[in-house]
């Protein structure tokens, strides 16, 4: 392969990465439909979040889930639209709304670091840990931020990488809430 082609490939890679997610997808991340097996995640003590265990996704509710990492700049930017959507739709009884970090938490990055990041970014809903990547793997979340809307039967209705404006998030959530 000629250098020119390689550079073209390289440019494409970076080009797709510019949006802020690792790469904005040209492949279907899930590749298949079907329900997602739930996982027990640790939730941490942070604004709007209590230390405990949560079942994700919670069958019978619509789940809005965003994977993030504290090192991720785009994830910082994503907190504002997430907050707007949470304020707008978070009151629904049958909506599970949470953010999950899948970075290695426990040693260098502590629960307190995550909680501080959360407070700094005006987080006000449940925040959980997927340190062992179980849920990340199950949903094939290959980057951060990565947002999912999962319907009441635990089937993924929406999965998108990268920055999303409030409208882009609200649409699939409202649609999924309306689907019975």
């Amino acid at each position: 392969m000629q250098r020119r082609d390689l550079l073209a490939g390289a440019a494409a890679l970076s080009g797709t990465a510019l949006g802020g997610a690792y790469v904005t997808g040209f492949i279907d991340p899930l590749g298949s439909t079907g329900s997602v097996e739930h996982v027990e995640l640790e939730s941490i003590d942070a604004p709007g979040s209590q230390a405990g265990e949560i079942t994700v996704p919670q069958q019978g509710t619509v789940t809005v889930l965003e994977f993030f990492a504290t090192w991720c700049g785009v994830c910082s930017r994503q907190m504002e639209p997430m907050g707007a959507v949470y304020d707008d739709l978070g009151h629904h009884d049958d909506l599970q709304f949470l953010s999950v970090t899948n970075e290695p938490v426990g040693r260098t990055v502590t629960r307190e670091d995550v909680a501080n990041w959360w407070a700094d970014h005006d987080g006000r809903w449940t925040v959980g840990l997927d340190t062992d990547l179980t849920l990340t793997e199950r949903l094939d979340a290959s980057g951060v931020p990565y947002t999912y809307v999962i319907d009441r039967s635990n089937t993924v209705a929406y999965a998108e990488r990268g920055y999303k404006a409030p409208d882009e998030l609200a649409d699939p959530i409202e649609r999924t809430l309306e689907t019975r």
Binding site: M1, A12, L18
Partner: protein, 241 residues
């Protein structure tokens, strides 16, 4: 930056064309050109034939890790990329810290393996070598902050953030020795979604995982690999050794 300063969408299409042809090659089946690979633990990667055929510049499955000696300024020493041969499995990636897109993901992937190596007791069997190709900006203190931000554990003496001394040396090591292409871009460009951002380089997104004998087990390129993919592969090599 004149050769491909045209729209990224053009380049993207080129890339998709290459990816598309890979599907055809895979469907056409094995080309039967390679010999056995006794030097590696992992099975042949997907689309291996296509990668061989494409004659990419970076080392792929079963090839040896190239040799270069590069300063590790945070440790006040130099590291030769092959110096752990016989002792540790190695992971390499190629980054610049101003990078908003792929690079943090590449660092995170290495961090996940580091965390897993601690958790599962193989920290002294692996070494991590992220290499910057932007030494002008990535001074030792910038690199230290970057490690900190990513939660790199520094006490384990297996993480070596490498910094070629000059842009010319970065070119030699990263591009000519490891075959990882990078090219300086204009400072502000628009991506395909019209978002303006500050991108100093375009580059191949590449992670290399090599075994203790110094042979590449996997070259992850294209999309940033899922952390669990590399963690699984690293564990497989550690266990299969």
């Amino acid at each position: 930056m004149n050769r491909h300063s045209n729209a990224p969408s053009f380049d993207r299409r080129r890339f998709l064309t290459v990816a598309g042809s890979g599907v055809v090659a895979t469907m056409a089946g094995c080309l039967g050109l390679r010999g056995g690979n006794d030097n590696v633990v992992l099975d042949e990667p997907d689309a291996y034939d296509r990668t061989v055929e494409a004659d990419v510049d970076w080392p792929i499955y079963g090839e040896q890790i190239p040799t270069a000696t590069v300063p590790a300024p945070l440790l006040d020493r130099s590291v030769t990329t092959t110096e752990f041969t016989g002792e540790r499995h190695t992971l390499f990636t190629f980054i610049f810290t101003r990078c908003p897109g792929a690079c943090p993901g590449l660092m995170a992937v290495l961090r996940h393996v580091q965390a897993d190596s601690v958790e599962n007791d193989y920290a002294d069997e692996v070494a991590f070598m992220p290499i910057t190709f932007d030494p002008e900006h990535d001074t030792p203190s910038v690199l230290e902050d970057y490690e900190q931000r990513h939660g790199v554990e520094r006490s384990l003496e297996h993480w070596f953030t490498l910094r070629p001394e000059t842009p010319e040396r970065a070119q030699e090591v990263v591009e000519e020795t490891f075959g990882c292409m990078f090219e300086r871009t204009e400072d502000a460009e628009s991506d395909s979604e019209g978002e303006t951002m500050d991108m100093a380089f375009m580059h191949t997104s590449l992670v290399l995982l090599a075994n203790k004998d110094g042979y590449v087990e996997r070259a992850y390129t294209g999309d940033v690999p899922a952390p669990s993919t590399i963690v699984d592969d690293a564990r497989t090599i550690v266990e299969g050794w």
